[in-house]
């Protein structure tokens, strides 16, 4: 089947963090660290695991739900006519993890935060690829992190069971060649899984596929 889009990325290393995996966040000042949500802790752990020896790197952050828990908490405050927490408000934006990573590292490189529904991981990876085309010499830290949508929305098809974060350091010299292909698909009824986990399987085993019934994503190591 002809692909809609196809691109290759050179990956230096990657890291994944889920469930009870330890989070190493000593690079974040404790006064900053105290404000991190479980989602941001996972995201920053994998970002640092990828980029600890890379003083400056563009940052692309992708998440389907972002800091939705904070938004739900703020709306609950409003519904109960309570004062809204300024801390929650300031960190409810989707780019808060990117901002904190930049502050913690003292890195002024550009950062982007995107959300694209159940395909957030894949389109975030596309954003990272476009960055490599714009600025080939600067490494890119790509991080995808999500948690299941909180109550009262509840876990959605394609959500992880708990916080899931994956990070890739993308640079021209990277030894891992990751190819992404997107094809049209007509596979209704296929149970939806976490898209990011498919790419992780490809990074581990060489190939993996994912579909939401409309589009088919394929990852292969070259």
């Amino acid at each position: 089947m002809p692909s809609v889009a196809e691109w290759d990325l050179s990956v230096v290393r990657w890291a994944c963090c889920q469930n009870d995996d330890p989070r190493e966040l000593s690079f974040v000042d404790p006064l900053l660290r105290r404000r991190l949500s479980p989602l941001a802790r996972g995201a920053l752990h994998v970002a640092n695991a990828c980029a600890h020896d890379c003083p400056s790197a563009s940052f692309v952050f992708s998440s389907r739900h972002g800091e939705l828990q904070r938004t739900v908490d703020l709306l609950s405050n409003l519904a109960q006519s309570e004062e809204m927490s300024p801390t929650l408000f300031s960190l409810s934006v989707p780019n808060s993890a990117a901002g904190i990573f930049s502050i913690a590292r003292g890195d002024h490189a550009p950062a982007t935060a995107i959300a694209a529904g159940v395909e957030s991981f894949g389109y975030g990876l596309l954003e990272a690829y476009l960055r490599t085309q714009q600025e080939p010499t600067r490494p890119i830290v790509y991080v995808y992190a999500d948690a299941p949508a909180p109550h009262p929305l509840g876990q959605q098809p394609g959500d992880p069971e708990a916080v899931f974060a994956i990070g890739l350091l993308i640079d021209r010299a990277g030894p891992i060649r990751l190819r992404t292909r997107i094809c049209p698909s007509d596979e209704p009824g296929t149970p939806m899984t976490l898209q990011a986990n498919a790419c992780r399987q490809a990074l581990e085993k060489g190939v993996a596929d994912w579909t939401d019934g409309h589009r088919h994503w394929n990852w292969t190591l070259q």
Partner: protein, 87 residues
């Protein structure tokens, strides 16, 4: 030690989510913002809400005396003494 000071220290730790700190770690006369404890403007707003909830104290952000009240735990205790309703 003054129980009100202790209470305010516990309030600061809880409202501002100061991981790994206990009331003994906060000297009553240490500056809360900037040099000292190192809190920032978001903490000031958060602390203002916590003081309002617990003691019914209304603070005006633009009021120059607010800065003075927020200097340290001693000044906050004095504020609660003079203006606060019983918790």
């Amino acid at each position: 030690m003054d129980t009100l000071e202790q209470e305010i220290k516990a309030l600061i730790i809880k409202a501002l989510n100061l991981e790994d700190m206990s009331p003994q770690d906060i000297a009553s006369d240490i500056p809360l913002f900037g040099e000292g404890l190192g809190l920032d403007s978001i903490d000031a707003l958060e602390l203002g809400i916590a003081l309002k909830k617990k003691y019914g104290i209304e603070l005006e952000a633009g009021d120059s005396s607010t800065r003075e009240h927020f200097r340290n735990v001693l000044s906050l205790a004095a504020l609660v003494h003079s203006q606060g309703k019983a918790a």
